[in-house]
Symmetry: C2
Subunit: 246 residues, 2 copies
Amino acid sequence: MTTTPLEVGLDRSSPVPLYFQLAVQLEAAIDCGELAPGQRLDNEIELADRLGVSRPTMRRAIQELVGKGLLVRKRGVGTQVVQGALKRDVELSSLFDDLAKAQRRPSTDVLVVERRRPDDGVATALGLQPEEDAVYLERVRKADDVPLAIMRNWLPLDLAPSPELLRTRGLYDLMRGTGIHLRIASQRIGATSATSEQGRLLALRKGAPLLTMERVTYDDSGRPVELGRHVYRAESYSFQITLVSR
Amino acid sequence: MTTTPLEVGLDRSSPVPLYFQLAVQLEAAIDCGELAPGQRLDNEIELADRLGVSRPTMRRAIQELVGKGLLVRKRGVGTQVVQGALKRDVELSSLFDDLAKAQRRPSTDVLVVERRRPDDGVATALGLQPEEDAVYLERVRKADDVPLAIMRNWLPLDLAPSPELLRTRGLYDLMRGTGIHLRIASQRIGATSATSEQGRLLALRKGAPLLTMERVTYDDSGRPVELGRHVYRAESYSFQITLVSR
DNA sequence: TAGTGGTCTAGACCACCTC
DNA sequence: AGGTGGTCTAGACCACTAA
């Protein structure tokens, strides 16, 4: 008698790793309620055997979901589905991608694209030489024509994007298109009050609450490739995060 | 000729896993600059061999630091230390712990501790029955006697903490002390303006910017054990996050 | 005591990058 | 072509939990 029937189909000729195929299908089973909150899974040896993979591969699949906060494991006890519907998290994606995914219609007003001397903080974060210039961008991102955020970015000169493309696509999307692999982002989130200038751009009164984010993004060689200093309308945006302790 | 001398000492009789001992010492080497930003590590087979562990164990140690955003790997190329000093992240800890660690002197005004009927949103998040009561807490957290945050919490009745202890210790600390193992926290971060009541408690004018956090915490069996709705003085607090893509 | 997850090993084959 | 990390296997022993 098994506690989880759980049928999965694996394609061993696919380039997609087995552990990943397993993790995706387990996650789908949780999402659709086939694995209910609080329900216990069979032990990993049983599962590995039934699904036709080795125990380490099965463990790795389970570990993916533990890392996402969807499963919980206790030694000597077993593996359970977490109680409580989980929301999806902030990912290494741009606001543009997020809006498109949420079926909103994103657009961008490009205010500034120019070569400029960065301040010390920016130069240090991007690893530039003391006298080295960078590209400065200033944009207003709208969703369904309602202004949502003011985005100010600094990039190394060799990564300057085309102003025309910036109007219709997100910065991350453009960078990926030029062969840059974004890997790590370090973000700091805070709050502030709108200046009159910010209020004008976001159709808010001066002093309205804003959510702020400063972010440095690194590519897969660990090189800093972008610094962003953005402010968001507080009533229209928030950040979702899940923390899992080891 | 090795690119990284890297001396590490392993204790195979310790209950601390080998991969963890390795990860800690690697991280220390990065922190103290023995492994410089941008520097390439030896390949993992060489490293495993030199340090006297198997390749999977060595991989796992490296993977720990990749997950923390301290190392970056590229297939066919190698493993590098990330450029740019990384800051430490939000963890599964309370504001009280954070302040104590930062050498500030935390204290707490306990305003409310009572049994109360939660609204639907709270009841759902905590997995309570429709007519079930919960414990409601309202506190003001101060650092060096300056008010920093208003904290409102809901807990299941059986987890009610002692009002006396709340004054001198953090909620998470107290919960851990009663044998609860906090595992997962799901947080949403936003911004708002201070109401006159919030302004009074935080020594701010009405309309001042506040950082908001709503958080649900789960224990190691996946049970929701706490819901917090907190507001922070914007000028005194921010959240640090690191994202790593697979 | 029986069952669970946690760790570790030794080896294999593959995909990707650089030269 | 050679070197790198990515994946997968089959097995072993241990620590923790619950009955």
